[in-house]
Symmetry: C2
Subunit: 213 residues, 2 copies
Amino acid sequence: MIIVIRALLAGLLSLGMAKSQRKKASKKGLILHKASAMFREKGFAATSMRDLAESVGIEAASLYNHIRSKNEILEAICFDVANIFNTNIEAVEASNQKSITKIDNLLRFHIRQMIENYEEVYVSDREWKHLEEPYLSNFQTQRRNYRKKFAAIIEDGIARNEIRKIDAPTAVLIILHAISGIESWHRSKAKINAEELENNMVMIMIDGLRKHS
Amino acid sequence: MIIVIRALLAGLLSLGMAKSQRKKASKKGLILHKASAMFREKGFAATSMRDLAESVGIEAASLYNHIRSKNEILEAICFDVANIFNTNIEAVEASNQKSITKIDNLLRFHIRQMIENYEEVYVSDREWKHLEEPYLSNFQTQRRNYRKKFAAIIEDGIARNEIRKIDAPTAVLIILHAISGIESWHRSKAKINAEELENNMVMIMIDGLRKHS
DNA sequence: CCTACCGATCGGTAGG
DNA sequence: CCTACCGATCGGTAGG
């Protein structure tokens, strides 16, 4: 239990740190960050340990002084990100806010994570299929639980008459995937800035496209 | 030009056919369909030609009597899907409907394609990064153009006062990614049926989550 | 952290 | 469509 909390805090801290700090913190941290960038760019399966070693600036064999295997790298990335989101949704759940505000908060947290912690969040979202057992099942369970919590908040909002009558799991699906669209924004040199992007996304998701005149 | 039109029609026809028909049509068709399923499940890079051959029921070497290379398979899948969506958006563009109706149509077309033609659409959306030049650049250009056309329809809706004042490219980003969320629905044995899913998605995207009482 | 190297597997070809 | 096989590259280890 203590170990879980420590791992969670470590994850929060390392991902909250500025990039330079995170990199300098340890060689392992540098490896994880370089790996995130390469896994996002080329995919986990298409990234070789030799590719990764080159971007870190050492020989492939030397990587194994810091990590046990290629899969361990993916595990570290995926579970760090999962911990961050789990911690946040628990805080939001526990707060005494209106449902629509809770959703607004979750939305903005997701968007900011996607912008500030881009490579890791992206990899966690798209490459987790390459995890091996028992990590794969563990991750899938966490994912399912997160969505259930999110859906419960929406259901609650419907019951309180703050949110229109929709299928909550479908709404969660849409929201989570919509946010992953920031990937394209991130890559396209952003015509609009991060704040505008966030406000636009929240507005579209919460109030929709149609103008109610 | 004639070749382009033929390829386009062939794509439309083969993807419009029932699965049994498509499979029987040719061994190449069977290979493409099995490849779509495997590329979706494991990713392009993690799928070997030996895996694919086994699922088709022949030896790996025999695949090369029907296709030229592993990459050619990905090209066939990606460009078939791209053609289908390009053809549709051109038809929608040319129609004389209200902007909000055009968007509704595009949304429903995407959702239906994602449901009926799941493996291929998914692969085209997530695995195109593994295309090689010049196909990669060609595909990216088609993608960019599609989004521009979609954004132009939204801009038009804003100008006509049918759509609220939002950043159109951001809206396109959200919409396209939101729809790819159907992947999760598809895999999760659907608590709600396809029609309900479609209506829920359209309602959420067009009118938002918040209830305007 | 490196050199040297392992067995396994990859995409693909030759020849029938 | 198969058997037999190619060179290249993979993740990872031994030993220093």
